[in-house]
Structures are given as C-alpha cells and as structure tokens.
C-alpha cells in the first residue's frame, strides 16, 4: 500500500520539538535560561547564512558522505562500521599527496587530492572486504577494528613521515593553496558540499533507476533468494558495496583536509564516522533523507558550540542536550515505523 508521504517527515519534526521541550526543562533545572540557550542553539545553526553555511553545512558534508557510504553497504546487507577509519585513511592520503602538489594548478591539485582520498578509503575497506569474501570474516568486526588502526596510523604519521617541517608539533604542514578547495565567498563552506550533494543524487539515481540498485536491494533484503532465483553473485555485490562505502568515507576525509583543516591533525574527526551511522539510520536508507538528516546533525553540533559561546551553557550540559535530541528523534522514528508496520500488516 502507498503510505502518505507527509508522515515520515512530520513525526521526526514533532519529536524534535518534544526533544527541545525536554531540553528546555533540563536547562531550567540546571539554572540556565532555556529561551536564551535554545535561542543561541538555533541562531548558531540557522541564524544567518554565514552560521548555516559555515557551522551547519560544513559539518554536514562529511556526515552526508559517510552516511551515504554506510547506506550503500546497508542496502547490500553489509554493515560498514569503519567510516571513521576510512575517513582517516582518506585524510592521511589527502594530506600526503596535497603537500607534494604545490606547483600544480589548483583544479588539478584538488582533484588529485580528492581522488587519492577516495582510493585510500576504498583500500582501507578492501581488507575487510577481502576477509569477508575469502574467509567469511564478519565485516562488522573487521571494519570496526580497523578504526583503531587508522587512528594509530594518523598518530604515527603526524609524529613521523608527515610531521610539520620543524618537527615539534604532532600535525602536518599546511597544504599549499593549490591543494585547498575553494570556499564560498564570505563563508567557510567549501566545494565539498557540491560533491556531497552530487553523490546523494547519484546514489538516489542508482538506487531507484538502475539494475545495480535493484540488485543491491535484492541482495540486502534476501541474500539467499537473490542468489537462487536471481542468480546474483551475492558475495561479490556485498564486497563491491563495501568498497564504494569506504571510498565515500575516504572522500569525506579528503574534503575535510582539503576544505576545512588544511593539514592533518590526530583529532581531525569529532566522531563523524559514528555520528554518520545515526544519520543514515534516521534517513532510513534514503539518499535525499541523508542530506536532511546530515544537516540536522550538523546543526545540532553547530548549535552546541553557539550554546556554549553565547548562552554560557557548559560543554558537558551541551553534550547531554545533543544526545537527548538525537535519542528523541530516533525514538520517534522507531515509533512511527512500528505504527506503519502495524498499518501495513
């Protein structure tokens, strides 16, 4: 049956409202003016074009890319929990190649940087993909564990081969201008947003309109049926989906280095790889949903900074607030899907 299209959007919104109401109570109890605090949060995320572009969208870019990757995997029935590690693999590769390309023209240099990041992300996940194909190792575990390896790799890189030229601080040199992605005038929003949006559209098209999308879905929904009745090479499709998934997370790492930090740092990601899983789950595998969901999570983070800055709410309370909002949205989402299941059953 065709479900009404408004409901899936209305419910998360209502729950967002409910979450904010809980927050208001929470802030009052702690002794902070809830109007001031939540006002600062909304202003910090959406208050101006600058705030929206530089705070919210800049954070939404890596979330979008990694969440898209996670969704590609999910559609094919593989769980890539290693977005964080693939992000870092992409970031290391981007910094490494970016530092060598100072003499290239800007467009070529940034393209090369991002391309290398994509390859690095895919390579990082190639190990779990191969282990899965060859030995049936669960990718949930192998991708997760490779996150720690990636973090250690970054730590090593910034104190070893990629350390800045004075060899004092654990960070790389700043990328040459040629390797930096252009930003929209007057903001910190870089061209990565166009990449992220294009990837979402491509994913939407592939999922909806192509044979591959159909096969992915078939494999994800019922691997045995897909193999028996469709003659699909389930394992190979799963491995391919993993590679694409890693490539997207690697691209996220590349855009972060080339568009935001301009250097490799050990704490580059505030856990994008894990937040992105929540982004993807909330979006229910819909690429366009991911765009919105990533913006919502980006807004939460941006608003959290503003709440500390402008309303004097301490960081710890802000973290609680963020978590409450996320749980509220996810809970409402789960409730609404249960209701729908009951309707369709």
């Amino acid at each position: 049956m065709k479900r009404p299209r408004v409901v899936p959007l209305l419910l998360p919104l209502a729950s967002l409202g409910a979450g904010l109401a809980v927050l208001a109570v929470f802030f009052s109890v702690l002794g902070y003016d809830p109007v001031l605090a939540l006002g600062a949060m909304v202003r910090g995320a959406f208050g101006s074009w600058y705030a929206f572009a530089s705070g919210t969208l800049v954070r939404a870019i890596p979330l979008m890319l990694i969440a898209l990757g996670f969704t590609v995997g999910l559609r094919a029935g593989v769980l890539n929990i290693g977005g964080e590690g693939q992000f870092y693999a992409g970031a290391v590769a981007a910094a490494w190649i970016g530092l060598k390309l100072g003499a290239w023209p800007g467009f070529a240099a940034t393209t090369a940087v991002l391309a290398v990041a994509v390859v690095a992300g895919a390579c990082w996940v190639a190990v779990p993909a191969w282990l899965r194909l060859r030995f049936g190792v669960l990718e949930v575990i192998s991708t997760l564990l490779l996150n720690f390896v990636a973090e250690a790799l970054v730590s090593y890189m910034v104190q070893g081969p990629l350390q800045e030229s004075q060899h004092i601080y654990p960070q790389s040199d700043q990328l040459p201008l040629a390797a930096r992605m252009p930003v929209f005038p007057g903001t910190r929003l870089h061209l990565g947003i166009l990449l992220a949006l294009s990837c979402s559209m491509i994913a939407w098209y592939v999922f909806r309109r192509t044979m591959t999308g159909f096969e992915l879905r078939a494999v994800g929904r019922g691997p045995r049926a897909a193999r028996v009745t469709g003659g699909l090479r389930v394992q190979r499709l799963g491995a391919m989906a993993l590679l694409v998934s890693g490539a997207l997370a690697g691209l996220a790492g590349g855009t972060e280095v080339s568009g935001v930090s301009y250097a490799l740092y050990p704490n580059l990601s505030p856990g994008y790889g894990f937040t992105a899983i929540a982004v993807a789950l909330l979006a229910r595998q819909s690429p366009m949903g991911i765009v919105l969901s990533a913006i919502l999570f980006g807004a939460l983070e941006a608003g959290a900074g503003a709440m500390q800055r402008d309303a004097g709410v301490p960081a710890v309370a802000v973290y609680v607030a963020e978590a409450v909002t996320i749980i509220a949205v996810l809970l409402a989402d789960a409730l609404s899907s249960r209701r729908r299941d009951m309707v369709t059953a």
């Binding site: 408004v6 601080y169 654990p170 800055r309 301490p314």
Partner: protein
C-alpha cells in the same frame, strides 16, 4: 518539496531570534581544546576567565572545541562578534588563529604555548619546567626505590621540557635516581592514564609526575590504589585531588597570567609579543602540600629556595642535560646541570 520548505522554515526561525545588540567595551573569550573539568590545564584557564569577569567586570564566554574545524570556527565566531581578547588555550590553535587574525584585526588572540607572533596573535609561554625541577628535587628525596616516573599526554615541547626539568631536579639531589616515562598520545583517557601508571609502578616507580590533563586523573587513581606511591601535580595545585599522596604541584597560576594580560588589553596598551612566565613573578611555582610539611627532610627547604633563586637568576637551567649523562662529552656553553 517538503525538505526545502523545512529548511527555509528553520532558517526563518533562526532569523527571528535576533542576536542581542553588541555591547560596548571589552569582551573576553576562551577556547579550550578539552574539558574544563580536568582539574589542571583547561580548568585553570576557565578559572582565569572567571577571574577576569570578576575583577574587571567584563563579559566573558567559553567554548570547548576539540577538532581543528571547531577550533577555527570558534576563533572566527568570537572575532566576528567583536570580542576584543580571545584566549586560545593550546599550541594547536596557532595556525588557525593566524588565519583568522588576518581577517579580524580588531581582536587580540593569545595562543597558550603558541609558536610565534603574527598580526595580533601572541603566544603565551609558561616555563613549567622551572617548577617541575623543584618538584623533581622533592621527589628525588622522597623516592625509596630510586625510580621516578612521568606520564605525559602528547610529546610536545613544553611537556618534554617539564619532564627534563623533573628528572634534572631529582638527579640534582639524588644521583642514583632513574626515571621512566610514558606518553599516552591522549589528554582525556583517564583509564589509559591509570594503566600507564600501573605499568610504571610494576617497574618500581614510586613517585610520579605528569603532564596529561584529564588523563592524569587515572595516574592519581593508580597511586591511590597502590600503597606508598606519590604523585606530584602539574599545571594546577592538585593537592586537593588526593591530599594524602600529593606532596606538591608544579603549577601555573593561569588566572593570574590571564588577568594580567586582560588588564593590559583593557587599558589599551597591549602589544603583541611573546609573553613568558616562569618562577620569577610567581605565575609558575612549586606549590607544596601543607599536609606534608613535617615529613620532608629539613635541609630540603633551603635547597629548594636556593635552586629557585638560581633558576630566576639564570644560573641554573632546568632543562640542561644532566652532567652524569654528559660523561666524556665536551662541556657545553651555558649548560649548568
């Protein structure tokens, strides 16, 4: 489509909640790279901010920013809102502060442990090694196993310097002292700090010093669990964390330093420069725990005083390489282990 409308709605909502009018006069911002509940580096900075608020009566604001992206954003946000003075509390802010400063010439950025002066960015350097040297002297006399330990966060120049000062101080009073050190590559993970300390205890370390912020809370934990193990505090007076096992702290009086700078800025005669604080003037100092007063060797007090005076006079360099390791090497100019 609906998504677009939702976005527009939120944007409109944001625009409705108007920003408060920009107040006149100085406002001071602080950006910390970690939690201000670490009882050391970041909490000291936060106290400094509170001190500025109370003493100078100026509006202040704090934000915690852990990633390079969030750090640059915070710097920009304060500058764009017209904050006159922003403390960026860590070396990692240097590059971003220089980038932002080029666009916002009205804001003064103080980068703690920063590298250089540029535009209106000024580094604030604390010679903690001078106080760690004094802590090391006390440790050298208190250790029974003659093995002292150090747990560091990340191997940065100021952290390494503090470690060298600590070892040199200990060997100055006790030539038999050996030292062990561990770096955690982390400032937050107290469980990791505890593991590192326990591992060092197994190789006979009985007196610790640290420079690991919140992760060091695990070092205190390990010491509390193991009878006879002592910990010297760092960056703040940490005696209160565990009065029975902390003989003293190599501390930075961050509030005093911050307040001095804010005063200068408020009066309008701040000039960007490399700002250095050491034992001289008392911003960096060795703060003994009063609970240990009767238990220390009586000759130690005068020796500490003498060492302090020599450091201030410049005749004793806390980080100079100790003599016993220089055996056979030509004496270096200025090295006075």
């Amino acid at each position: 489509m609906r998504p677009a409308r939702l976005l527009l709605g939120l944007l409109a909502l944001g625009a409705c909640t108007r920003a408060p009018a920009v107040p006149e006069g100085l406002r001071v911002g602080l950006i910390t790279p970690g939690s201000v509940t670490d009882a050391a580096w970041n909490s000291g900075a936060y106290h400094g901010l509170e001190e500025i608020h109370e003493s100078l009566g100026v509006p202040v604001s704090h934000v915690e920013a852990r990633t390079p992206a969030a750090q640059e954003e915070a710097l920009r946000a304060y500058a764009a809102q017209g904050y006159g003075l922003v403390f960026a509390h860590g070396y990692e802010f240097q590059d971003a502060a220089e980038r932002v400063s080029a666009e916002y010439p009205r804001t003064i950025f103080i980068v703690t442990s920063g590298a250089r002066t540029n535009h209106r960015v000024a580094p604030l350097i604390f010679r903690l090694e001078e106080a760690s040297y004094l802590a090391g002297m006390v440790a050298g006399r208190l250790t029974r196993s003659n093995v002292i330990g150090f747990v560091g966060g990340v191997e940065l120049p100021p952290v390494k310097a503090a470690y060298e000062g600590w070892v040199n101080g200990a060997t100055a009073v006790n030539p038999n002292v050996q030292s062990r050190s561990t770096y955690l590559n982390n400032w937050d993970d107290a469980a990791l700090g505890r593991e590192a300390a326990l591992a060092l205890i197994r190789v006979k370390v009985d007196v610790f010093h640290h420079n690991a912020d919140a992760a060091a809370l695990g070092v205190f934990q390990a010491a509390k669990e193991t009878p006879g193990v002592l910990v010297f505090g760092a960056n703040a007076d940490q005696s209160a964390l565990a009065p029975a096992i902390v003989p003293g702290s190599a501390m930075i009086d961050l509030p005093r330093a911050f307040l001095a700078i804010a005063r200068e800025v408020q009066k309008g005669h701040f000039m960007p420069r490399v700002i250095v604080f050491g034992l001289e003037g008392g911003v960096v100092r060795y703060e003994p725990n009063p609970a240990f007063t009767g238990t220390l060797p009586t000759d130690l007090g005068p020796r500490l005083q003498a060492a302090r005076d020599s450091i201030i006079a410049g005749t004793l360099r806390p980080t100079a390489r100790p003599r016993h390791r220089q055996a056979g090497a030509a004496p270096r100019a200025g090295a006075q282990g």
